[in-house]
């Protein structure tokens, strides 16, 4: 009989009654054939593979991560709460050592959801990985976490949430932003001044196949993980790099995903995108589950899989090598650059525009962060949208120094202005969250 060499927990929540809209890629049917394949393979019967029922995300869980405008319940549906809850459940059973590995096979996804949430972007409303990680930090005292995002789209939401967190290494492997939504994720995006170098982006050219992906894993991701020494490795396991995916242009495969999973060996995988619901997802998910559990996956292949048809060009491979070299160079230089940036000890400001494609909202942000030598720095975000909402959000990091902590409260208490609809204070140090509606 077959047996998992690593005890693996699964939360499977296909939300068979939830869709963004009837013909949207994020619809009821998305995990139907995955369910069929997983059931027919009898994966839940394998000794050492355990299925868990998801918990639900609470408002406090969301508040550890997001500033939701106007409030949490307005930007999520029950399905988001179960999907995020599934990630939380998997995180808990891994931390409690009930299982060695975990996989939250849930929908809807979350990696495009940023710190401030006015609505849905890239099919995402709340960031389920971040909600899980911050929950695990508070509940189990986890410090250093690495997130490897292998979805075909740049994980810009997760990047945004951890942009200023030096304890969270975020690595995104994705199709080049010049050719795909959301258009970001270039090698020079390396994190904010106090967390410079703990955001890493590896953009890959269109039609990258197994060779290219595994090259980046071997030559960038594994050495970085080795050096960063995280307590937990999370894989945002999007499956839209597949050669049959309808909305992307890559040539990855079920075998490739299984090998990638085996190499990265994440403690927890969380499903993100992947919209080839018949040709890819059933096989990729089986491959990932087997690879996590340490079971032979060599015969998990798509019916039309032909490795030779998926070979990438020599030029493409050369390009990937150069990109990886550049990323490694940035990684090595980042600490000294960070030191220089912090030397000024002042406040750094950035302004940007964020588009919510799913809900068609345009947001402007002005962010100010304290370049603190003693902590990752308190920051505030003023955000206003074309819908007329304007908010101020203050974030005090978990390891804030007392000056940054005091400053955060001071800003929260003294910023009440007429034109602000809402003022938020997210105090991660003391695990508090406050909202003020100046108009009322």
């Amino acid at each position: 009989m077959i047996k998992a060499t690593r005890k693996t927990g699964l939360v499977f929540f296909p939300a068979f009654d939830w869709a963004i809209s009837p013909t949207h890629p994020e619809r009821e049917e998305r995990l139907l054939y995955t369910r069929d394949q997983v059931f027919e393979e009898g994966l839940f019967d394998i000794e050492g593979i355990i299925e868990f029922k998801p918990d639900m995300v609470t408002r406090d869980d969301i508040r550890r991560v997001h500033f939701c405008v106007p409030d949490e319940w307005s930007v999520v549906t029950e399905s988001h709460l179960v999907s995020g809850g599934g990630a939380k459940t998997i995180g808990s059973v891994v931390m409690e050592k009930k299982v060695e590995k975990g996989f939250a096979l849930v929908r809807p996804p979350g990696h495009h959801a940023m710190r401030v949430v006015h609505g849905a972007r890239g099919f995402c409303n709340i960031n389920i990985e971040a909600i899980m990680i911050e929950y695990l930090r508070d509940a189990y005292g986890v410090e250093r976490v690495a997130i490897v995002d292998t979805d075909c789209h740049h994980g810009d939401g997760t990047q945004d949430i951890y942009w200023h967190d030096p304890d969270t290494l975020f690595i995104s492997l994705h199709q080049d932003g010049r050719t795909l939504y959301p258009g970001s994720g270039f090698t020079h995006e390396l994190g904010g001044p106090t967390a410079f170098g703990t955001t890493i982006n590896i953009p890959l050219p269109p039609r990258t196949s197994e060779e290219g992906f595994l090259y980046a894993v071997d030559n960038v991701i594994l050495p970085l993980l080795e050096e960063f020494k995280p307590e937990l490795i999370i894989n945002s396991a999007g499956q839209d790099n597949h050669y049959t995916d309808p909305i992307t242009d890559m040539q990855f495969s079920a075998q490739g995903y299984a090998k990638l999973t085996e190499k990265i060996s994440p403690d927890i995988a969380v499903l993100e995108g992947g919209y080839s619901i018949e040709g890819a997802l059933p096989y990729v998910n089986v491959g990932i589950i087997l690879a996590l559990a340490g079971i032979d996956y060599s015969s998990v292949k798509e019916p039309d899989y032909d490795r030779n048809m998926l070979k990438q060009s020599r030029e493409s491979m050369e390009y990937i090598r150069k990109t990886c070299d550049q990323v490694m160079e940035y990684w090595e230089k980042a600490p000294s650059i960070k030191e220089k940036m912090l030397a000024s000890g002042s406040i750094k400001e950035r302004e940007r525009t964020i588009y919510y494609d799913t809900d068609n909202i345009l947001e402007n942000q002005k962010e100010q962060i304290v370049l603190c030598k003693d902590c990752p720095g308190m920051y505030s975000i003023e955000s206003w949208t074309d819908r007329g909402k304007r908010i101020l959000a203050v974030h005090i990091p978990r390891k804030a120094c007392s000056r940054c902590e005091d400053l955060g409260y001071k800003i929260y208490e003294t910023s009440a202005r007429k034109n602000l609809n809402l003022i938020f204070l997210q105090d991660r140090k003391n695990k508090q969250f406050f909202v003020n509606e100046p108009g009322k």
Binding site: M1, R27, Y33, D36, E40, G42, F52, P54, P246, S299
Partner: protein, 560 residues
């Protein structure tokens, strides 16, 4: 008149009932080496002085196939397995005649790779030369498209006594379980057929010509003819008999916990509005995980005769082993039954021996006999209730796949406990005290299993898959296949499923006026390719749920 017969591990219970109530009940010892004569002995005794022409119905539940699986006295089976990509089917090898062959079907039921007839013929001739008589044919996703299995069966035609295709045993998806299920059906075929041929023959010779029904693990019955075709469904019918025996006395709305407390083990089940809960997939027995429909039961090694022991740290343990009867009945080790006798809750057996038994316990615990007996009594009930809670938690933690079920799904919370089995009446009061729930003893608790068999009605299940993009509707268990157009709806599917199920359950021995059908699962998905809806994917699972024959209450109301 109806005869219900249940073969248990130690004795065989037989009841004779009529609209006038329980007419007679018989207990004969079970000889596990000769079940045929145990059954015959029971039937002979119950039929004494009875007009055989007045017998309308006979239901039998035996441990024949269960014993064969547990003791691994199974006939050799040839298995032909086609899988295609996925987990290597060699992992699911059972026995020495396991052949993986070409051919594969995908999750939608589309052919990926055809079968190779020459390969099958070569395997068939090899199996013949190896003396194989029983063959199973199993394909991955055969419930989505049985054509490969059917072709292989055809190629084997006529050369074997029994050939079973995987899609006939269940509409559920689970390839490894399909293999194990087909294997077990095929492996008990001969023993089951020979046994019931003999029983039928001997009943005929007594002038009894009414159809004989056999109890299944799901608490329902099937005709003896169906049982010969699908013999695996009789595996583990024993616990189901007792649960069905409790059904008449359960509250008609709300959740009931049923405990069948025996000498060595206690079996538990849950009834929701008088209907027993089923296993999601099927029986697990003797290391085989199957798709055999069964009641959800939990069996724990704890009963009236479990040995009571005290270790060096003064920890009291009850079970899991049984060393013999209670000391009050001539055994050598103290048991919970001895505690009941010492506490004078149970007024039989040798009191002095029971006292001696409690002495053995109290001397090690350093307490009085009374305290020791009370401790055993309480601890026994504690263990029962803990096991029940474990089962209920497991049921309530079962994953669900829709937001609706997640928010609205039924959570089991019993509001009564029904107990049956030998020691049951003596634990009722304590169980009530500790659980805070009303505890009722099933009337005629000592033959409730045979009564359950006698009163159980036919059950059945089918699954209908509709894929309007491919233009097909199919119910694999019934080898049903029908082309459908794009306009086919979920309502059409439900109607079709009910009509297929109705035909099936009548063929399998149901009376036509007691068919209560219900929907177990219904799902409809729009299939979208590109930005257009190209079809509908519909899955409907319907069942005739386990329950009692019509007018059972006329009979059971007279028992109390």
């Amino acid at each position: 008149m109806i005869i219900g017969l249940d073969v248990g591990g130690t004795h065989t219970d037989v009841v004779l009932i009529s609209s006038g109530g329980l007419l007679n009940q018989i207990k004969v010892p079970t000889n596990s080496d000769d079940l045929y004569n145990s059954v015959l002995d029971g039937l002979n005794k119950i039929l004494k002085n009875v007009d055989v022409n007045a017998i309308e119905r006979i239901v039998l539940s035996t441990t024949l196939t269960t014993n064969a699986v547990v003791s691994n006295t199974l006939q050799p089976v040839g298995l032909i397995v086609s899988s295609g990509p996925g987990i290597n089917p060699e992992h699911y090898r059972i026995g020495d005649h396991f052949f993986c062959v070409k051919g594969s079907i995908d999750h939608r039921g589309r052919e990926v790779q055809p079968i190779e007839p020459l390969e099958i013929e070569a395997i068939a001739s090899r199996m013949r030369s190896e003396g194989i008589k029983s063959v199973g044919v199993i394909g991955k996703f055969s419930v989505r498209n049985p054509s490969h299995e059917n072709k292989i069966v055809k190629l084997l035609d006529g050369s074997f006594n029994y050939v079973l295709a995987g899609h006939r045993v269940s509409g559920n998806l689970n390839f490894p379980r399909r293999i194990a299920t087909v294997y077990l059906y095929s492996a008990v075929y001969e023993i089951h057929k020979n046994f019931f041929d003999a029983v039928t023959q001997s009943l005929k010779s007594k002038g009894i010509k009414v159809p004989i029904h056999i109890l299944k693990a799901d608490g329902g019955t099937m005709s003896v003819e169906t049982s010969v075709q699908f013999p695996g469904q009789t595996i583990l019918s024993g616990p189901a008999a007792s649960v069905m025996g409790a059904v008449p006395y359960a509250q008609s709305s709300g959740d009931s916990l049923v405990m069948d407390i025996g000498g060595t083990t206690t079996d538990m089940a849950i009834l929701v509005n008088k209907v027993p809960l089923l296993e999601p997939l099927g029986i697990e027995l003797g290391g085989y995980k199957t798709l055999i429909r069964a009641l959800k039961t939990k069996s724990i090694p704890l009963g009236g005769d479990s040995a009571v022991s005290v270790d060096g740290n003064k920890n009291l343990a009850i079970g899991p082993q049984r060393t013999g009867p209670a000391m009050a009945f001539g055994g050598s080790e103290p048991t919970p039954t001895d505690a009941l006798i010492f506490l004078e809750i149970m007024k039989s057996g040798d009191f002095n021996k029971a006292k001696e038994a409690m002495n053995k316990v109290s001397s090690k615990l350093g307490c009085s006999n009374m305290e020791a007996a009370q401790l055993v009594h309480i601890k026994f009930c504690e263990k029962l209730l803990a096991a029940a809670n474990e089962m209920i938690n497991e049921i309530n933690k079962r994953p669900v796949y829709t937001v609706h079920e997640f928010l609205e799904g039924h959570q089991v919370k019993p509001s009564e406990i029904l107990v049956l089995g030998g020691p049951a009446p003596y634990f009722a009061e304590q169980l009530e005290k500790m659980s805070g729930l009303p505890v009722r003893v099933v009337p005629n608790w000592n033959v409730a299993n045979a009564l359950g068999a006698a009163l159980a009605r036919a059950t059945s299940e089918i699954t209908l898959f509709v894929d309007t993009e491919r233009g097909i509707a199919s119910a694999p268990e019934e080898d049903f296949y029908k082309p459908v157009d794009k306009e086919f709806t979920l309502e059409d599917a439900k109607r079709l499923a009910f009509s297929i199920l109705r035909n099936k359950v009548i063929r399998e021995g149901s009376a036509t006026d007691e068919i209560e059908m219900e929907i177990l699962e219904e799902q409809q998905f729009n299939m979208v390719r590109g930005f257009y809806t190209t079809g509908k994917n519909i899955r409907v699972k319907v069942q005739v749920k386990p329950g009692l024959i019509k007018n059972y209450d006329n009979i059971t109301s007279k028992f109390v």
